[in-house]
């Protein structure tokens, strides 16, 4: 057992150089989402969503699969970072906090993987 206080053991060591990483990634993903979400919203408003053939064609041709994959990934990333902060700020239970943080991470990874898988499946299908 050390007699040094927790503060004493870290003073003078400098920072871990990772303090602003989360904050910065939230901003980077936000900036990336500005054009991506405008593109997605405009596309969704113009698409005849009930028509499978037209939607499938839209999803799988040109550069759209790439934009869709990027949009889904960056959205899930930005959302995961944001939801993490909300949980950290408002949930204080000893068990609830880590469990909820873990569940939020699982949720975002599953949603992102599902979206990417769907776009690739559509774009690379052979029929």
């Amino acid at each position: 057992m050390s007699l040094r206080t927790p503060l004493g053991s870290v003073l003078g060591q400098g920072t871990a150089k990772s303090g602003v990483h989360h904050w910065w990634m939230q901003r980077v993903s936000a900036v990336a989402l500005v054009p991506l979400t405008v593109w997605l919203l405009c596309s969704l408003l113009r698409l005849p969503l009930g028509n499978f053939v037209l939607v499938a064609h839209w999803m799988s041709t040109g550069w759209r699969p790439l934009w869709l994959v990027l949009t889904v990934l960056v959205m899930a990333w930005h959302s995961a970072l944001g939801v993490q902060v909300v949980i950290e700020d408002y949930v204080h239970g000893k068990l609830a906090k880590p469990l909820l943080l873990m569940a939020a991470n699982f949720f975002h990874v599953v949603v992102a993987a599902t979206g990417v898988f769907a776009v690739l499946r559509m774009a690379l299908r052979s029929y």
Partner: protein, 122 residues
């Protein structure tokens, strides 16, 4: 050791810019759930015409339409207010009066853009 200092988030005098601050988080969390609908839509389309028709039938119900509208509203607001946040991060518009007028711009944008989207959809 059990009683830790917490952020004094209940002690502020009310200002209407706070409403935008709360709403930004609420809209963000709502859209996190909305990711499920987006991925579900992509997944159904990749699964073929049958599953896609079933999903469109589900999304066409009046309750789901209402939820979709709420997500659209949340997005339009979060989008504009997010840009407001980015400008703050760049050190611009941090004065109280500027924060109030930018809040007004965000609210007006949200209402007008939402109306425009509904007009396009209907």
């Amino acid at each position: 050791m059990n009683v830790r200092p917490t952020s004094p988030y209940l002690n502020y005098r009310f200002a209407y810019t706070m409403l935008l601050s709360f709403s930004h988080r609420i809209a963000g969390v709502a859209m996190a759930i909305g990711l499920l609908a987006l991925s579900g839509w992509l997944f159904a389309a990749a699964s073929g015409p049958g599953p896609y028709a079933a999903l469109i039938a589900l999304y066409s119900g009046w309750l789901f339409r209402l939820v979709l509208c709420a997500w659209l509203l949340a997005f339009l607001f979060h989008f504009a207010n997010g840009i407001r946040h980015l400008l703050w991060d760049a050190g611009k518009g941090l004065e109280k009066s500027q924060a109030r007028s930018s809040a007004l711009v965000v609210v007006i944008w949200t209402v007008l853009a939402f109306a425009l989207c509904l007009w396009v959809l209907l």
